[in-house]
Symmetry: C2
Subunit: 462 residues, 2 copies
Amino acid sequence: MNYRNIFQNILPPERLHFDGDIMEFHSKDETEDLHFRPGVVAEPVSTMEVSALIRMAFEHEVPVTAGGARTGLSGGALAIKGGLVLSLRRMNKILLIDEKNHQVIVEPGVITEVLQNAVSEKGLFYAVDPASQGTCTIGGNIAENSGGPRAVKYGVTKDWVLNLEVVLPDGRVIETGANTLKNSTGYNLTGLIVGSEGTLGVVTRATLKLLPLPRFQALMLVPFTSITNACKTVSEIFRAGAMPSAVEFMEHDAMVLTQEFTGNKEISIDPTDKAYLLIEVDGFDESEIMPQCERILSVLEENGSGEVLFAQSDSEKEQLWFLRRRVGEAVKAASIYKEEDTVVPRGMLPDLMLAVKSIGEKYGFRSICYGHAGDGNLHINILRDDLSDQFWSVELNKAIRELFDVVVAMGGTLSGEHGIGLVQKDFMDIAFSPDELSVLKMIKNGFDPKGIMNPGKMFPNS
Amino acid sequence: MNYRNIFQNILPPERLHFDGDIMEFHSKDETEDLHFRPGVVAEPVSTMEVSALIRMAFEHEVPVTAGGARTGLSGGALAIKGGLVLSLRRMNKILLIDEKNHQVIVEPGVITEVLQNAVSEKGLFYAVDPASQGTCTIGGNIAENSGGPRAVKYGVTKDWVLNLEVVLPDGRVIETGANTLKNSTGYNLTGLIVGSEGTLGVVTRATLKLLPLPRFQALMLVPFTSITNACKTVSEIFRAGAMPSAVEFMEHDAMVLTQEFTGNKEISIDPTDKAYLLIEVDGFDESEIMPQCERILSVLEENGSGEVLFAQSDSEKEQLWFLRRRVGEAVKAASIYKEEDTVVPRGMLPDLMLAVKSIGEKYGFRSICYGHAGDGNLHINILRDDLSDQFWSVELNKAIRELFDVVVAMGGTLSGEHGIGLVQKDFMDIAFSPDELSVLKMIKNGFDPKGIMNPGKMFPNS
């Protein structure tokens, strides 16, 4: 198909690309080593341009894949069928910080941390904090319903999105809701679009909720000599009536790898420690935090934790968070790997960890686990090490199926925050029955009858 | 149609009704004086029975309207096209209180307050608290995405539902998600079903999130001599960094009517007070509450509130909440009325109140307003008093259209927590463009191609 002919009248040539570095940039994301070259990359700067591009793609049945910072972890923004990649990086304006209503209106290309900083200057708080927050964009967060450490107290992206402007697969533009905290008016289209991985339309504007900015944080790193005890502690913290703003889990190996990767070894690691919890409590006032910390400390003691390292200064806090946020990259640098994003009911975490390790033993792979334990969301990184091609391409899928079977039996599911995208789509039959899949497919077909919108994602055999 | 022939083999006769008081009970709800008699009322006790009934209704194209406690405020559970009313009152079991995972699994007929009490005995908290919580059911709350005073801190029903079992309009049974706090696996079907007003299927089981139970509440009643100041104060409370668990607004007349209606006049009301805020702060520890109260008190002072009445005992707290929760009934007892459930961005509340009163003056009606001011959700009760039939049936709709136009222009919408149901459906064109309505309709038709599921609701001209 001659994409130049189709799209050249919509955007000026400097924002319509058929070759060069930008094509390479939009051929990848952060998922394994996947590479898919689009036919054309367009950089619209307005909803009208997005609409015109999609309308033309609809007419010519060109696949459309929206993309931003390419930080995805499920291959969701890869143009696996070629066609048009709609880069939303230039639509990166914060349109309005509405202090009176505690809301912000943004374009999808705004970097998450840029938004956080802009609102915090006004004493306001946008809590969703994926590890990639320094580079990822709000549009991508909306597509994947991203979370992060603070989701345990403050929720994931869907809990912050009040209203969306969306370009439908035929180019029509709709708003999904209203700029209100509550809404029982028609179906929850906003909630349906969030997490739909760009398969139902393209978000061109979002109204997000803000909260007053908590001014105080206490942060502690807690070692455990038993993985099971560390996991068990997580659910007991909540049962004791504490509401921490983060409860992160790291295996011993994750910590070691990250220290080596970053060169930051100021925290001494005892070889007998098998796992760590990083626990944060936040509030508006120091006096609000202390009673919570005390409740947490007594749970830690009851569960046989090692000595708690309390961050004493802002820079100590930053250092601990820096380590936690770099675990993903460190693991990635250590070996070819495959990452799962399993999520289970919080209290099932010890069982999930046992299952991971036992399946690993059975199939002979090494895994490094870490993640948002307060939400029951565990990132399981399976390392290639010196496993054979045959194992990696065939046997591994069996192992992952076995793992997902266990996860679903526990009341859990495939992805807590990365989305299904390309790399998990063939496991969807484990999480959904044929009837359930047919409902998802019915929604997809209703929105996108020509199947042009991010094709080849989410659905098995797509 | 001979409903007896169609359904008699599915349920025993004592749970299949064609006459008697139960038919009358299921002909009404709490919306104005509406009355629609169903053809048959069925009382299933299991998902299998619900599925069998719906499968038969699908085959014979019989309208199906699910119902429970008949406390709805938008006519959502009225069988306006006759047919089958599926009463879910007998499916009222709390199936599992899962303390380890902070979850509860319930059938739809569980009364909201029964659930709250059952989990609070285990130190757990289900926060959604509609005024009708003593009689309404979880199934109805899910259908309408109900809120209540504590929604301002804890969210509405959608924020508490993790997973649903749903019988589709052809009788197939699906689960919408997983029993997890996070989920990025396929479309958010759970979020789509919540608030869909029984038009996409019938919920037969729900997994709900729980939190640790806050043990301490401070409650204050705050008089204002200016409605505008009372409204303005609401958004300033949040801007000052407080996170109250309720911020309720009552006009002077609402307070007077409720005192007269309940006979409870222990709180003295000054005739110069034009409005009241009822403000609650909660926490796990008394020391967590006090700094918040102090911040709130200084905002109140800056905004010229009258003397703050702090509830000193549990019984004083109960009395204040009792008054607040009975406002709706009191207004209803005073006059024929029409209630709107408008919601705007929180800071627009003063403007909304001015608009209500000015439209009232223009058209010559009296209104009494109260509601969940912290969410920008205002219940506007228009009183019939001695207005003519002509006014009530024709002119009033013009006034309401004018009001909704203003609300939508403010970024707000028609319903914050009551749903659209029957009584608001003809205003949907104000909140949604034709393209937006066509998307809602596409979803409806995809789920329910024969249009049997709660027909005549939500969509204009339906």
